[in-house]
């Protein structure tokens, strides 16, 4: 529009100029030549001026971006996750899975409406070498828990990545992922009982990425051994260690995969478990204490498929993990009564297989199957009459979910589960959950 006006003006001015010029000296052919020259000059100047006007006009509407884009302009990137659920449960969530009374049992389930943990995350580059992340979860009943607080550097180059502070361990596939990106409202049973949902520790991690065309990564961690299967150890040296390796690649543009193996080793010292069922059938169970070594191995695999590789439209994800935990030490039976120590060793294991399908841009659905094996414990003679060594029951669960994601920052989920993790206590569960993220746009892990 404005361009047209400029052109009209130019033409009008030019015409006016040429008429008056021609009218003045129409007799002299030489001066006509000069005038033509003059006109050409005028024309050029006008065009230049016109261009300048146009440039200023566009500059008025836009701005040249000289600064590199960055999520933070010195202020750290702040993000907050708000989440809440409505839950309908037929059984008491405090009852542990059969055979896992001496493991972690933090379901996080609450009957009815409840606010879930609000997660506040602050991250920024510290200087050219280091970057830092702090993630704090605010419990609905009050109190702040430092979920993650670590410093990371890739300044070492050569594929090395160093992290220290408190962080989620790199073992398995799901372990590093924050709860707001979980595909289900809760963790697989095997994560709940063997890792207390998510294994985090205070320590350091070193990873090395091989200079290969396919993804090959190995990593090791040493830490305090703060959380299950460890116990907070107030001693010099490391209380826990983790080793892991991952390998992954694409198959064409539509498929990608990653597979991994992990090993974790720690010690449990005077770990007390309450309400543990026993052979004499004490009502409400007894309290036992265990000290010994714990070693866990794991396998994980994930495969993703998306038509044309366009995950915005549709994708399919299949993942599975298997963990096997061996504990060996001394069990003290009934610490408030008979206090009988005895040798105790057991191998527990579990796996899950799940698949999530995004069938249209805003909708996903998923199915998960969980199974645990409490193992057959070898129990010392002194406690053989008291401690249950074989529960002869394999806890399992089938879960279905669907979620609606109107934008990248919003997720509303319905989840139904048929839980048979507790022998004789079938639990049909309903979850309705919202997860909303506000603030900085976090980048997602694979």
């Amino acid at each position: 529009m404005s361009r047209n006006i400029y052109w009209c003006t130019t033409v009008a001015v030019l015409l006016g100029n040429s008429f008056s010029a021609l009218a003045a000296d129409d007799a002299d052919p030489q001066s006509v030549g000069a005038q033509i020259q003059q006109l050409k000059q005028n024309n050029k100047e006008l065009e230049q001026r016109l261009q300048q006007v146009e440039i200023t006009a566009t500059q008025a509407q836009t701005r040249s971006s000289a600064a590199p884009s960055n999520v933070n302009s010195f202020n750290p990137a702040v993000a907050m996750i708000l989440s809440g659920t409505y839950e309908q449960l037929q059984q008491d969530p405090a009852i542990p899975a059969t055979g896992f009374a001496m493991n972690a049992n933090n379901t996080g389930y609450v009957h009815g409406f409840s606010l879930q943990e609000s997660e506040l995350s602050i991250s920024a580059n510290i200087d050219p070498q280091f970057s830092g992340v702090g993630t704090f979860s605010l419990a609905p009943e009050g109190g702040i828990n430092v979920e993650n607080a670590y410093v990371q550097t890739s300044a070492l180059g050569n594929g090395l990545n160093l992290k220290f502070g408190r962080f989620f361990s790199g073992l398995g596939y799901l372990n590093e992922q924050h709860s707001h990106v979980w595909d289900f409202a809760d963790q697989p049973l095997v994560y709940r009982v063997l890792w207390d949902n998510q294994y985090a520790d205070d320590g350091m991690q070193l990873k090395w990425l091989a200079p290969t065309d396919i993804f090959v990564e190995i990593g090791g961690e040493v830490g305090r051994g703060l959380n299950y299967p460890g116990t907070n150890q107030n001693k010099n040296g490391a209380g826990a260690g983790v080793l892991f390796a991952h390998i992954g690649d694409d198959i064409g543009i539509e498929q990608s995969w990653r597979a991994g193996v992990s090993l974790q080793q720690t010690r449990r010292i005077d770990a007390v478990s309450y309400n543990v069922p026993d052979l004499p059938g004490t009502p409400g169970g007894v309290s036992n204490s265990f000290s010994g070594d714990s070693r866990t191995v794991g396998l994980d695999f994930v495969w993703k498929y998306s038509p044309n590789g366009n995950i915005r439209e549709r994708y399919l994800k299949v993942q599975s993990e298997y963990f096997r935990q061996y504990q060996n030490g001394t069990l003290t039976y009934d610490i408030t009564g008979s206090i009988t120590p005895g040798a105790y060793s057991n191998t527990q294991s579990g796996w899950y297989l799940q698949s999530v399908y995004q069938f249209m841009p805003t909708w996903r659905t998923g199915l998960r199957y969980d199974r645990l094996d409490p193992g057959t414990a070898s129990v010392g003679a002194s406690i053989a009459g008291d401690v249950i060594s074989d529960y002869a029951y394999h806890p399992s669960r089938l879960t279905w979910m669907t979620d609606y994601n109107p934008s990248e920052f919003t997720r509303i989920r319905l989840q139904l589960a048929h839980d048979e993790s507790r022998q004789g206590l079938t639990d049909n569960q309903v979850f309705v959950q919202y997860i909303m993220s506000l603030g900085a746009h976090g980048a997602h892990q694979y």
Binding site: R63, S154, G157, L209, T212, F215, G248, S256, G309
Partner: protein, 320 residues
Amino acid sequence: METKQREVSAKANPRLGEGYAVAKNILYTSLLLLLSGNVHAALNVFACEPEWAALTQQLAGDKASIYTATGPLQDPHQVQARPSLIAKARNAQLLVCTGAELEIGWMPVVLRESGNSNIQPGSNGYFEAAQYVTMLEVPSRLDRADGDVHAAGNPHIQTDARNFLPVAEALSKRLIQLDPANAAYYQQQLTSFNQKWRTAIAGWEKQAAPLRGVSIIAHHKGFPYLNDWLGLKQVAELEPKPGMEPSAAYLGQVLGELQQHPARMVIRAAYQNERPSEWIAERAHIPAVTLPFTVGGTPQATNLFTMFDDTIQRLLAGLK
């Protein structure tokens, strides 16, 4: 920086058994695979989008070995930090991306996990094309209520052919910085590209003259640079807010508005779902036009030149 090209002969000794030869081949292949990050004498380039891979190809020829992180049918906003991307970034000497937060959902993870200090933001190996062009649609306020807006402005700068000139110049300078031994070659490639590109722009502008002032609807706010260049007039978008899926109710509303502000065609990028634009096209009796958006987006868009040839041909066909 540069490592010597290893001469690996896979030839087996004829006197030895066939099994030995096979084993030797396997061994060498796996060795090659393992060392492939180092054996290329060429500059290792990680291009975030196909258009930047194509531009790097124009400017660096065989002096660069280029990996393209995203396909033409992928939404570049939504890509996952796949293991393969991290592995490729590990060995890259130069990263060529759009920037302006287009890759914010995946690039930070790829960079962090790559353990490669040469391509971190601020280093010579990190190149953002958006820094060298005049940005459009820079929001005056940043609020997620406005959808997925980018603070630095609309990042889809590759739809205006003129933007490639300043980007090419800056990219060529960067190639020279990283690989000074081939400076003369890069300089020559730039001069030749500039010349061909300027001629091509003049040709495209001439061809596209009938498009000036033509009203269009777009699926996503992906074309402000194209509109600015060719003088197209965008009257509506199918996404209620940038990045949000078009709902049936909103499409109905757009259709209603079309009565008052008619448009000649509805355009979308090849990676976007065709259903919303076809729905509108059918009801408003206007053509739905698919544009390549990047190199490879349509079968015709095989390189940077044919990408714009095809874009203009498709728009002109939409006028008929």
